[in-house]
C-alpha cells in the first residue's frame, strides 16, 4: 500500500540484521530545584534485530520509557548514539517510519474510531480511497469490525487501545514502539490483547519494542527481554526467550515459562 522508499545504504544495514543500534547512551535529567541531576540511563548499549520482538522490563524509575522515547526521538540522549537502520531517530521520524502506542490510547474524542485510525494517513497525504481501504483492513486486524463509527467514549478501555494499535499500524511503520500499552487494562483483557498482538506481529512482520513492568507479559510476548534496573538506570540482563512460536496463553502453564519468568525476576539488581 504505502510505498516506503528504501535507501540503498539502509538496506545494507538491514541485511546484517540490526534494526536499532544503541551505543553507550546516557540520559541525564537536570533537577529543577537545583539539587543533583537524575541519571535516567547510563551507558546503555543494545542491538535490536529486524523483525524482533523486544521487551524492556523493569520497576518504575529504571528508564525503560526513557529508552523508548529516545528511540522515538521524543527524548534527546545526553551522550552516546542511537541509529535506526543506519540513520538518526530524527531522520526516521521525519520519514514517518515509527508507529507509537502510548499507555493511554490518546484517541481524539471528536473523531470516530475510523477517523482516528485515518488521522496519520491524512497527515501523510494518502488519497482518500486508499485511506478508507486501509482503515477497514486495520480495524479487521484488531478485531474491531462494526465499531468503526463509534466515538472513543463509547468504547471500552481495551477497544480504545486496539484503535490505538490500529492507528499505529495504519501507516505501515517499520518499527512499532509500545509504551506500557496494556498496563491500564484488567488482567483478562490484557491477556487477550497480548495474544492478539502476537498474531498481528506475525502477520505484519514489524520490529516491536515493548515497554512493560509486567514480567509475565514480557516473557509471553518477546524474543528477548531486556531487564533494566534503577538508580542509575541501566541494563542489568538480557534474557533470551526460547519458547516456541506461535504462542498461545496455554504456554503460561508450562514449567519452561515459569523458569523464564524466574530468570527475569532474578536478574533485577538493587531496587
Amino acid at each position: 500500500m504505502q510505498a516506503i522508499r528504501k535507501l540503498p545504504e539502509t538496506d545494507a544495514v538491514v541485511n546484517d540484521g540490526v534494526e536499532i543500534k544503541i551505543e553507550n547512551m546516557s540520559v541525564r535529567f537536570s533537577d529543577r530545584t537545583g539539587g543533583g541531576a537524575i541519571d535516567a540511563l547510563t551507558n546503555v548499549s543494545l542491538d535490536i534485530r529486524q523483525g524482533e520482538f523486544v521487551s524492556l522490563v523493569g520497576p518504575s524509575g529504571c528508564g525503560k520509557t526513557t529508552l523508548l522515547r529516545a528511540i522515538a526521538d521524543l527524548q534527546e540522549p545526553t551522550s552516546g548514539s542511537i541509529t535506526v537502520r543506519g540513520q538518526t531517530p530524527r531522520e526516521i521520524r521525519l520519514q514517518k517510519k515509527f508507529g507509537i502506542v502510548f499507555q493511554n490510547p490518546v484517541l481524539y474524542d471528536w473523531r470516530t474510531a475510523r477517523r482516528n485510525v485515518c488521522m496519520p494517513m491524512e497527515l501523510m497525504g494518502i488519497p482518500k480511497q486508499q485511506r478508507t481501504a486501509t482503515v477497514s483492513e486495520m480495524l479487521d486486524m484488531v478485531n474491531l469490525q462494526g465499531f468503526g463509527f463509534k466515538y472513543p467514549h463509547q468504547l471500552s478501555g481495551g477497544m480504545q487501545q486496539r484503535v490505538g494499535i490500529a492507528r499505529a499500524l495504519a501507516i505501515k511503520p517499520e518499527i512499532l514502539l509500545m509504551d506500557e500499552p496494556f498496563s491500564a487494562l484488567d488482567e483478562f483483557t490484557k491477556e487477550k490483547l497480548n495474544e492478539e498482538l502476537l498474531s498481528i506481529w506475525s502477520k505484519a512482520k514489524k520490529t516491536i519494542v515493548f515497554v512493560t513492568h509486567n514480567i509475565s507479559e514480557s516473557v509471553f510476548l518477546s524474543d528477548r527481554v531486556v531487564v533494566l534496573s534503577p538508580h542509575p538506570g541501566r541494563i542489568s540482563a538480557i534474557v533470551d526467550i526460547t519458547l516456541p512460536r506461535p504462542r498461545h496463553l496455554a504456554v503460561k502453564d508450562t514449567p519452561e515459562f515459569s523458569a523464564l519468568v524466574s530468570k527475569v525476576r532474578n536478574s533485577f539488581e538493587g531496587v
Partner: protein, 284 residues
C-alpha cells in the same frame, strides 16, 4: 412505537423546574398583592404578572405609531444587532489572540498578565468614556460588547490550547506533522469546548453591555426606552416588558451558544463522563 413511559416522565427533573417556576410566580403574585394594598402606584414597584402580560397584548398606542410591544421589539432589534456584531467581533479577536499566544511564547508572556488584569477591571464602568471617545452610540455599543466578549473567549480558548495532553502532542510529533496540521487536526478541534465555555459567559454579557450603553444617550435601543419609561415619558409597562424581554434574551443568548456547541461538536458530549454509552468488550 414504544409505549410512553409516564413514570419516567414524572420522575424527570423537568417537573422540579416546573414546580420552581410555579413557586416563583406565586411568590411574585403574593408580593404584588401586598404592594397593591400599600402603595399608591403599585405598577411602579411590582405589578401583577397578568397586568404585564395584558400590556403586551394591549392595542393602545404609546407613541404616535406603535403599541408598547411594537415599540419594545423594534428597539430590541437595534440593541441586539449591535450586541451581535460586537459579540462576533470580540469572539474572533479573542480566538485569534489565543491562537497567537499559543503559537508564540513571547506574545503569551507579553499579554497574559494584561488579560488577567482586564478581567479584574470593570469594563462596563468605562462605557460612558467609550461613548465620549467614539462619539457614536452604535460604535460604542459594538466596542463595549466586543471588549466584554474578547477576554472570556481569549482566556478560555488559551486554557484549552494549554490543556492538550502531552501525549497527544507527542503523537503528532512522532508523525512529523506540520504545524498547520497540528493546529487543524489537534489543537483547534480540542479547544472548541473551551471556546464555547467562553462564548457562553460572553453572550449574556454582550447583551447587558449593549443595553447599558443604550441608557447613556437618547436615540433608541432597549436601554433608552427603559430610561424613558422610568422617567414616565411613556407607560411604565414598557419598562416591565423590557425587564422580562432582556431576561429572556439573556437566557436565550446562552441557550443559543449551548445549541451552537451541539451543532459544531459532532460527538455527544454528555456521554463523555457518564459512561452510559460504553459498549461491552468485544467477545472474540
Amino acid at each position: 412505537m414504544k409505549p410512553v413511559n409516564w413514570k419516567k416522565i414524572f420522575a424527570s427533573s423537568i417537573w422540579v423546574t416546573v414546580a420552581w417556576v410555579v413557586g416563583l410566580i406565586v411568590v411574585w403574585e403574593i408580593g404584588a398583592t401586598i404592594v397593591a394594598g400599600v402603595k399608591r402606584t403599585p405598577e411602579n414597584v411590582l405589578p401583577h404578572l397578568y397586568q404585564i402580560i395584558g400590556s403586551v397584548f394591549s392595542t393602545q398606542k404609546v407613541n404616535s405609531s406603535q403599541t408598547a410591544i411594537q415599540l419594545v421589539l423594534s428597539n430590541a432589534w437595534v440593541t441586539l444587532a449591535r450586541a451581535g456584531i460586537g459579540f462576533m467581533l470580540g469572539a474572533s479577536i479573542g480566538f485569534l489572540l489565543a491562537l497567537l499566544m499559543s503559537r508564540f511564547v513571547a506574545v503569551e508572556k507579553m499579554l497574559f498578565p494584561y488579560l488577567m488584569i482586564i478581567q479584574m477591571i470593570p469594563i462596563l464602568g468605562m462605557a460612558p468614556i467609550v461613548l465620549a471617545i467614539t462619539k457614536n452610540i452604535d460604535k460604542s455599543r459594538i466596542v463595549i460588547a466586543a471588549i466584554l466578549t474578547f477576554y472570556p473567549v481569549a482566556t478560555n480558548t488559551l486554557s484549552g490550547f494549554k490543556a492538550v495532553e502531552k501525549e497527544k502532542r507527542e503523537l503528532m510529533y512522532s508523525y512529523a506533522a506540520s504545524r498547520f496540521d497540528i493546529y487543524r487536526k489537534l489543537l483547534i478541534p480540542y479547544c472548541i469546548p473551551y471556546l464555547f465555555t467562553g462564548l457562553k459567559i460572553a453572550a449574556p454579557m454582550a447583551i447587558t453591555a449593549s443595553i447599558l450603553v443604550d441608557t447613556l444617550q437618547g436615540g433608541g435601543g432597549l436601554g433608552c426606552m427603559m430610561s424613558q419609561s422610568l422617567k414616565h415619558a411613556m407607560t411604565i409597562y414598557v419598562f416591565w416588558q423590557i425587564v422580562f424581554l432582556s431576561a429572556i434574551i439573556g437566557i436565550l443568548s446562552y441557550q443559543l451558544m449551548v445549541w451552537l456547541e451541539k451543532l459544531v461538536s459532532p460527538y455527544p458530549k454528555e456521554l463523555k463522563n457518564g459512561g452510559t454509552g460504553k459498549a461491552k468488550e468485544l467477545e472474540a
